[in-house]
Protein backbone atom coordinates (compact mmCIF):
# COMPACT_ATOMS: atom_id res chain seq x y z
CA UNK A 1 0.00 0.00 0.00
CA UNK A 2 1.24 3.48 -0.87
CA UNK A 3 2.16 6.05 1.78
CA UNK A 4 -0.10 8.61 0.07
CA UNK A 5 -3.16 6.49 0.81
CA UNK A 6 -2.05 5.74 4.37
CA UNK A 7 -1.51 9.44 5.09
CA UNK A 8 -5.19 10.08 4.39
CA UNK A 9 -6.21 7.52 6.98
CA UNK A 10 -3.78 8.53 9.74
CA UNK A 11 -5.92 11.38 11.20
CA UNK A 12 -8.85 8.96 11.53
CA UNK A 13 -6.62 6.27 13.03
CA UNK A 14 -5.52 8.78 15.70
CA UNK A 15 -9.14 9.14 16.77
CA UNK A 16 -9.83 5.38 16.64
CA UNK A 17 -12.39 5.93 13.89
CA UNK A 18 -10.90 3.73 11.21
CA UNK A 19 -12.76 0.45 10.55
CA UNK A 20 -10.87 -2.59 11.88
CA UNK A 21 -9.96 -3.89 8.41
CA UNK A 22 -8.45 -0.59 7.29
CA UNK A 23 -6.72 -0.12 10.66
CA UNK A 24 -5.06 -3.53 10.27
CA UNK A 25 -3.82 -2.60 6.77
CA UNK A 26 -2.44 0.69 8.07
CA UNK A 27 -0.67 -1.03 10.95
CA UNK A 28 0.80 -3.61 8.57
CA UNK A 29 2.14 -0.70 6.49
CA UNK A 30 3.73 0.84 9.61
CA UNK A 31 5.90 -2.23 10.05
CA UNK A 32 7.57 -1.46 6.73
CA UNK A 33 7.40 2.36 6.76
CA UNK A 34 9.07 4.33 9.55
CA UNK A 35 7.95 7.69 8.11
CA UNK A 36 4.23 6.88 8.28
CA UNK A 37 4.70 5.31 11.71
CA UNK A 38 6.28 8.52 12.99
CA UNK A 39 3.53 10.63 11.48
CA UNK A 40 0.83 8.52 13.12
CA UNK A 41 2.60 8.81 16.48
CA UNK A 42 2.68 12.60 16.08
CA UNK A 43 -1.02 12.74 15.32
CA UNK A 44 -1.86 10.68 18.38
CA UNK A 45 0.45 12.77 20.55
CA UNK A 46 -1.02 16.04 19.24
CA UNK A 47 -4.53 14.83 19.96
CA UNK A 48 -3.57 13.75 23.47
CA UNK A 49 -1.84 17.09 24.04
CA UNK A 50 -4.91 19.07 22.92
CA UNK A 51 -7.13 17.02 25.22
CA UNK A 52 -4.68 17.46 28.09
CA UNK A 53 -4.64 21.24 27.54
CA UNK A 54 -8.45 21.30 27.59
CA UNK A 55 -8.57 19.28 30.82
CA UNK A 56 -5.88 21.38 32.49
CA UNK A 57 -7.66 24.60 31.53
CA UNK A 58 -9.43 26.00 34.58
CA UNK A 59 -13.12 26.00 33.65
CA UNK A 60 -14.92 29.29 33.29
CA UNK A 61 -17.88 29.77 35.55
CA UNK A 62 -20.44 32.31 36.67
CA UNK A 63 -20.28 33.71 40.18
CA UNK A 64 -23.09 32.41 42.35
CA UNK A 65 -24.89 35.77 42.15
CA UNK A 66 -24.60 35.81 38.34
CA UNK A 67 -25.91 32.23 38.16
CA UNK A 68 -28.94 33.06 40.35
CA UNK A 69 -29.63 36.13 38.23
CA UNK A 70 -29.39 34.05 35.04
CA UNK A 71 -31.78 31.42 36.39
CA UNK A 72 -34.29 34.09 37.40
CA UNK A 73 -34.12 35.66 33.92
CA UNK A 74 -34.40 32.36 32.12
CA UNK A 75 -37.31 30.95 34.10
CA UNK A 76 -39.18 34.26 33.78
CA UNK A 77 -39.53 33.53 30.06
CA UNK A 78 -42.64 31.90 28.70
CA UNK A 79 -42.47 28.30 27.55
CA UNK A 80 -43.56 28.39 23.91
CA UNK A 81 -46.02 26.00 22.45
CA UNK A 82 -44.88 23.50 19.89
CA UNK A 83 -45.44 24.62 16.31
CA UNK A 84 -47.82 22.43 14.37
CA UNK A 85 -45.15 21.50 11.81
CA UNK A 86 -42.16 21.30 14.15
CA UNK A 87 -40.43 17.98 14.09
CA UNK A 88 -43.04 16.31 11.92
CA UNK A 89 -41.11 13.48 10.31
CA UNK A 90 -43.41 13.26 7.27
CA UNK A 91 -42.84 16.87 6.26
CA UNK A 92 -40.32 16.15 3.42
CA UNK A 93 -42.31 13.13 2.23
CA UNK A 94 -45.52 15.15 2.11
CA UNK A 95 -43.81 17.97 0.22
CA UNK A 96 -42.51 15.44 -2.32
CA UNK A 97 -45.93 13.84 -2.73
CA UNK A 98 -47.58 17.24 -3.21
CA UNK A 99 -45.00 18.18 -5.82
CA UNK A 100 -45.60 14.94 -7.73
CA UNK A 101 -49.34 15.52 -7.56
CA UNK A 102 -48.95 19.05 -8.95
CA UNK A 103 -46.74 17.80 -11.79
CA UNK A 104 -49.24 15.05 -12.64
CA UNK A 105 -52.19 17.49 -12.59
CA UNK A 106 -50.30 20.01 -14.74
CA UNK A 107 -49.34 17.37 -17.31
CA UNK A 108 -52.93 16.11 -17.46
CA UNK A 109 -54.32 19.60 -18.04
CA UNK A 110 -51.73 20.38 -20.73
CA UNK A 111 -52.46 17.17 -22.59
CA UNK A 112 -56.17 17.78 -22.35
CA UNK A 113 -55.91 21.27 -23.84
CA UNK A 114 -53.52 20.31 -26.68
CA UNK A 115 -55.17 20.13 -30.16
CA UNK A 116 -55.88 16.62 -31.29
CA UNK A 117 -53.83 15.84 -34.37
CA UNK A 118 -55.98 14.20 -37.04
CA UNK A 119 -54.82 10.80 -37.96
CA UNK A 120 -54.00 10.35 -41.65
CA UNK A 121 -55.35 6.81 -41.74
CA UNK A 122 -58.58 7.93 -40.09
CA UNK A 123 -58.86 10.83 -42.51
CA UNK A 124 -58.48 8.51 -45.47
CA UNK A 125 -61.29 6.33 -44.18
CA UNK A 126 -63.59 9.22 -43.32
CA UNK A 127 -65.52 10.65 -46.25
CA UNK A 128 -65.34 14.39 -46.53
CA UNK A 129 -68.55 16.13 -47.44
CA UNK A 130 -68.25 19.08 -49.76
CA UNK A 131 -71.02 21.57 -50.27
CA UNK A 132 -69.93 22.07 -53.87
CA UNK A 133 -70.54 18.49 -54.72
CA UNK A 134 -73.94 16.86 -55.08
CA UNK A 135 -74.90 14.52 -52.27
CA UNK A 136 -73.48 11.05 -52.89
CA UNK A 137 -75.80 8.20 -53.52
CA UNK A 138 -76.06 5.80 -50.65
CA UNK A 139 -73.62 2.95 -50.96
CA UNK A 140 -71.48 4.80 -53.53
CA UNK A 141 -68.60 6.88 -52.28
CA UNK A 142 -67.87 9.74 -54.66
CA UNK A 143 -65.07 11.62 -52.84
CA UNK A 144 -62.13 10.63 -50.71
CA UNK A 145 -60.04 13.08 -48.70
CA UNK A 146 -56.61 12.89 -47.14
CA UNK A 147 -55.52 15.33 -44.44
CA UNK A 148 -51.86 15.95 -43.65
CA UNK A 149 -51.02 18.05 -40.59
CA UNK A 150 -47.55 19.31 -39.74
CA UNK A 151 -46.76 18.58 -36.08
CA UNK A 152 -44.27 21.43 -35.96
CA UNK A 153 -46.23 24.27 -37.57
CA UNK A 154 -49.79 23.00 -37.37
CA UNK A 155 -50.20 23.55 -41.16
CA UNK A 156 -53.08 21.46 -42.45
CA UNK A 157 -53.33 20.21 -46.05
CA UNK A 158 -56.46 18.40 -47.22
CA UNK A 159 -56.43 16.54 -50.54
CA UNK A 160 -59.65 15.45 -52.17
CA UNK A 161 -59.84 12.64 -54.70
CA UNK A 162 -62.70 11.49 -56.89
CA UNK A 163 -63.93 7.94 -57.00
CA UNK A 164 -61.16 7.05 -59.47
CA UNK A 165 -58.62 8.40 -56.95
CA UNK A 166 -57.78 11.33 -59.25
CA UNK A 167 -57.08 14.63 -57.60
CA UNK A 168 -59.72 17.30 -58.06
CA UNK A 169 -59.56 20.90 -56.92
CA UNK A 170 -62.75 21.35 -54.91
CA UNK A 171 -61.53 24.73 -53.58
CA UNK A 172 -62.31 26.48 -56.87
Amino acid sequence: MKCQKIEKWIPRLAGNELPAKKAARVKAHFEKCAGCRKEAAEFEAALKAARALARADEPLDWSEAEWRHLLRNVTAAKIEKKKAWAGWPLKPALAGALLLLLIAAGTFLLLKKAPVQPDIQAALKTPAVSAAKPAPQPGKQEVQSMTIVSKETGLKIIWFFNKNFVWEDYGK
Binding site: K8, P11, R12, A14, G15, E17, K38, A41, E42, F43, E44, A45, A46, L47, K48, A49, A50, R51, A52, L53, A54, A56, D57, E58, P59, L60, D61, W62, E66, W67, L70, L71, N73, V74, T75, A77, K78, I79, E80, K81, K82, K83, A86, G87
Partner: protein, 190 residues
Amino acid sequence: MNEREKDLVKRVLNGDLAAFEPLITPYRRPLLGLAYRITRNAEDAKEVAQETFLRTFKYLKNFDVEKNFKSWIYQILVHAARNFEIKKTKQENLAMSEPLKEMAAAPGDRPEDRQEGGEFRTRLMDCLDVLTPREKEVFLLRDIEELSIQESAKILKCSAISVRVHLSAARKKIRTRIKNRYPELLEGAL
Protein backbone atom coordinates in the same frame (compact mmCIF):
# COMPACT_ATOMS: atom_id res chain seq x y z
CA MET B 1 -31.78 10.49 28.17
CA ASN B 2 -31.65 9.28 31.76
CA GLU B 3 -34.72 8.90 33.96
CA ARG B 4 -33.73 11.77 36.21
CA GLU B 5 -33.56 14.20 33.29
CA LYS B 6 -36.85 12.89 31.91
CA ASP B 7 -38.49 13.47 35.26
CA LEU B 8 -37.02 16.98 35.55
CA VAL B 9 -38.20 17.92 32.05
CA LYS B 10 -41.72 16.73 32.86
CA ARG B 11 -41.70 18.68 36.13
CA VAL B 12 -40.63 21.90 34.39
CA LEU B 13 -43.31 21.44 31.73
CA ASN B 14 -45.88 20.93 34.48
CA GLY B 15 -44.96 24.31 35.94
CA ASP B 16 -42.33 23.39 38.53
CA LEU B 17 -39.76 26.03 37.59
CA ALA B 18 -37.41 24.99 40.41
CA ALA B 19 -36.77 21.74 38.52
CA PHE B 20 -35.00 23.66 35.74
CA GLU B 21 -31.91 24.36 37.84
CA PRO B 22 -31.02 20.70 38.57
CA LEU B 23 -31.73 19.94 34.90
CA ILE B 24 -29.16 22.41 33.54
CA THR B 25 -26.59 22.54 36.36
CA PRO B 26 -24.59 19.54 35.03
CA TYR B 27 -24.11 21.49 31.78
CA ARG B 28 -23.27 24.83 33.41
CA ARG B 29 -19.46 24.63 33.12
CA PRO B 30 -19.16 22.38 30.03
CA LEU B 31 -21.41 24.69 28.02
CA LEU B 32 -19.67 27.83 29.20
CA GLY B 33 -16.30 26.26 28.39
CA LEU B 34 -17.41 25.24 24.91
CA ALA B 35 -18.92 28.68 24.30
CA TYR B 36 -15.63 30.28 25.35
CA ARG B 37 -13.64 28.08 22.99
CA ILE B 38 -15.92 29.04 20.13
CA THR B 39 -16.19 32.76 20.85
CA ARG B 40 -12.67 33.29 22.38
CA ASN B 41 -14.07 35.79 24.85
CA ALA B 42 -15.42 35.25 28.37
CA GLU B 43 -18.19 37.85 28.21
CA ASP B 44 -19.36 36.65 24.80
CA ALA B 45 -19.28 33.07 26.06
CA LYS B 46 -21.47 33.99 29.02
CA GLU B 47 -23.92 35.69 26.70
CA VAL B 48 -24.04 32.68 24.37
CA ALA B 49 -24.45 30.24 27.26
CA GLN B 50 -27.21 32.36 28.79
CA GLU B 51 -28.98 32.44 25.42
CA THR B 52 -28.62 28.66 25.27
CA PHE B 53 -30.29 28.17 28.65
CA LEU B 54 -33.01 30.64 27.71
CA ARG B 55 -33.79 28.78 24.47
CA THR B 56 -33.65 25.46 26.31
CA PHE B 57 -36.30 26.69 28.71
CA LYS B 58 -38.46 28.36 26.07
CA TYR B 59 -38.51 25.41 23.72
CA LEU B 60 -38.51 22.59 26.25
CA LYS B 61 -41.95 21.57 24.95
CA ASN B 62 -40.36 20.79 21.58
CA PHE B 63 -37.85 18.41 23.15
CA ASP B 64 -38.53 14.72 22.64
CA VAL B 65 -37.83 13.05 26.01
CA GLU B 66 -36.81 9.86 24.24
CA LYS B 67 -33.83 11.67 22.71
CA ASN B 68 -30.51 12.74 24.22
CA PHE B 69 -30.83 15.94 26.25
CA LYS B 70 -27.08 16.59 26.09
CA SER B 71 -27.07 16.51 22.26
CA TRP B 72 -30.08 18.80 22.18
CA ILE B 73 -28.61 21.42 24.52
CA TYR B 74 -25.24 21.30 22.69
CA GLN B 75 -27.10 21.80 19.41
CA ILE B 76 -28.78 24.89 20.84
CA LEU B 77 -25.42 26.22 22.01
CA VAL B 78 -23.72 25.75 18.64
CA HIS B 79 -26.55 27.59 16.88
CA ALA B 80 -26.64 30.34 19.50
CA ALA B 81 -22.88 30.80 19.07
CA ARG B 82 -23.20 30.98 15.27
CA ASN B 83 -25.98 33.55 15.51
CA PHE B 84 -23.98 35.53 18.03
CA GLU B 85 -20.92 35.60 15.76
CA ILE B 86 -23.01 36.75 12.78
CA LYS B 87 -24.63 39.49 14.86
CA LYS B 88 -21.29 40.58 16.28
CA THR B 89 -19.59 40.70 12.88
CA LYS B 90 -22.45 42.80 11.47
CA GLN B 91 -22.25 45.21 14.40
CA GLU B 92 -18.47 45.48 14.09
CA ASN B 93 -18.68 46.09 10.36
CA LEU B 94 -21.22 48.83 10.90
CA ALA B 95 -19.27 50.48 13.67
CA MET B 96 -15.77 50.28 12.21
CA SER B 97 -14.07 52.39 9.64
CA GLU B 98 -11.87 50.70 6.99
CA PRO B 99 -8.47 51.17 8.74
CA LEU B 100 -9.91 49.69 11.93
CA LYS B 101 -11.28 46.71 9.98
CA GLU B 102 -7.79 45.98 8.69
CA MET B 103 -6.39 46.07 12.20
CA ALA B 104 -9.14 43.75 13.39
CA ALA B 105 -8.31 41.22 10.71
CA ALA B 106 -5.21 40.11 12.60
CA PRO B 107 -6.39 37.69 15.30
CA GLY B 108 -5.06 38.21 18.76
CA ASP B 109 -4.57 41.95 18.29
CA ARG B 110 -7.99 42.97 19.52
CA PRO B 111 -8.27 43.67 23.26
CA GLU B 112 -11.15 41.19 23.58
CA ASP B 113 -9.00 38.51 21.97
CA ARG B 114 -6.45 38.61 24.73
CA GLN B 115 -7.24 35.36 26.41
CA GLU B 116 -7.98 35.26 30.05
CA GLY B 117 -6.89 32.26 32.04
CA GLY B 118 -3.64 30.42 32.29
CA GLU B 119 -1.00 29.10 29.96
CA PHE B 120 -3.01 25.98 29.09
CA ARG B 121 -5.96 28.00 27.86
CA THR B 122 -3.70 30.33 25.87
CA ARG B 123 -2.04 27.39 24.16
CA LEU B 124 -5.32 25.64 23.43
CA MET B 125 -6.86 28.80 22.02
CA ASP B 126 -3.74 29.40 19.94
CA CYS B 127 -4.12 25.92 18.42
CA LEU B 128 -7.83 26.46 17.77
CA ASP B 129 -7.06 29.73 15.98
CA VAL B 130 -5.77 27.87 12.92
CA LEU B 131 -9.11 26.15 12.33
CA THR B 132 -12.04 27.34 10.24
CA PRO B 133 -15.32 27.83 12.17
CA ARG B 134 -16.70 24.45 11.02
CA GLU B 135 -13.41 22.64 11.75
CA LYS B 136 -13.35 24.21 15.19
CA GLU B 137 -16.90 23.07 15.97
CA VAL B 138 -16.17 19.55 14.81
CA PHE B 139 -12.84 19.34 16.66
CA LEU B 140 -14.29 20.70 19.90
CA LEU B 141 -17.27 18.36 19.87
CA ARG B 142 -15.47 15.21 18.80
CA ASP B 143 -11.95 15.56 20.19
CA ILE B 144 -12.39 17.81 23.20
CA GLU B 145 -15.94 17.05 24.36
CA GLU B 146 -15.41 13.46 23.14
CA LEU B 147 -18.84 13.06 21.55
CA SER B 148 -19.28 10.43 18.84
CA ILE B 149 -19.14 11.26 15.13
CA GLN B 150 -22.89 10.63 14.87
CA GLU B 151 -23.68 12.87 17.85
CA SER B 152 -21.45 15.62 16.45
CA ALA B 153 -23.15 15.34 13.06
CA LYS B 154 -26.55 15.58 14.68
CA ILE B 155 -25.57 18.64 16.72
CA LEU B 156 -24.07 20.38 13.68
CA LYS B 157 -26.94 19.26 11.43
CA CYS B 158 -24.61 17.80 8.84
CA SER B 159 -23.63 14.34 7.63
CA ALA B 160 -21.20 12.01 9.38
CA ILE B 161 -19.01 12.19 6.26
CA SER B 162 -18.83 15.96 6.54
CA VAL B 163 -17.78 15.61 10.19
CA ARG B 164 -15.05 13.11 9.24
CA VAL B 165 -13.70 15.33 6.47
CA HIS B 166 -13.55 18.44 8.66
CA LEU B 167 -12.17 16.46 11.56
CA SER B 168 -9.29 15.09 9.49
CA ALA B 169 -8.49 18.61 8.26
CA ALA B 170 -8.67 19.97 11.81
CA ARG B 171 -6.39 17.26 13.22
CA LYS B 172 -3.80 17.92 10.51
CA LYS B 173 -3.78 21.63 11.32
CA ILE B 174 -3.65 21.06 15.10
CA ARG B 175 -0.78 18.60 14.75
CA THR B 176 1.18 21.07 12.58
CA ARG B 177 0.51 23.91 15.02
CA ILE B 178 1.59 21.90 18.06
CA LYS B 179 4.64 20.56 16.24
CA ASN B 180 5.73 24.06 15.19
CA ARG B 181 4.88 26.05 18.31
CA TYR B 182 4.77 23.60 21.20
CA PRO B 183 7.03 20.67 20.26
CA GLU B 184 7.61 19.95 23.95
CA LEU B 185 3.99 18.74 24.16
CA LEU B 186 4.76 16.02 21.64
CA GLU B 187 8.10 14.98 23.12
CA GLY B 188 6.72 13.06 26.06
CA ALA B 189 4.30 11.13 23.90
CA LEU B 190 6.68 10.23 21.08
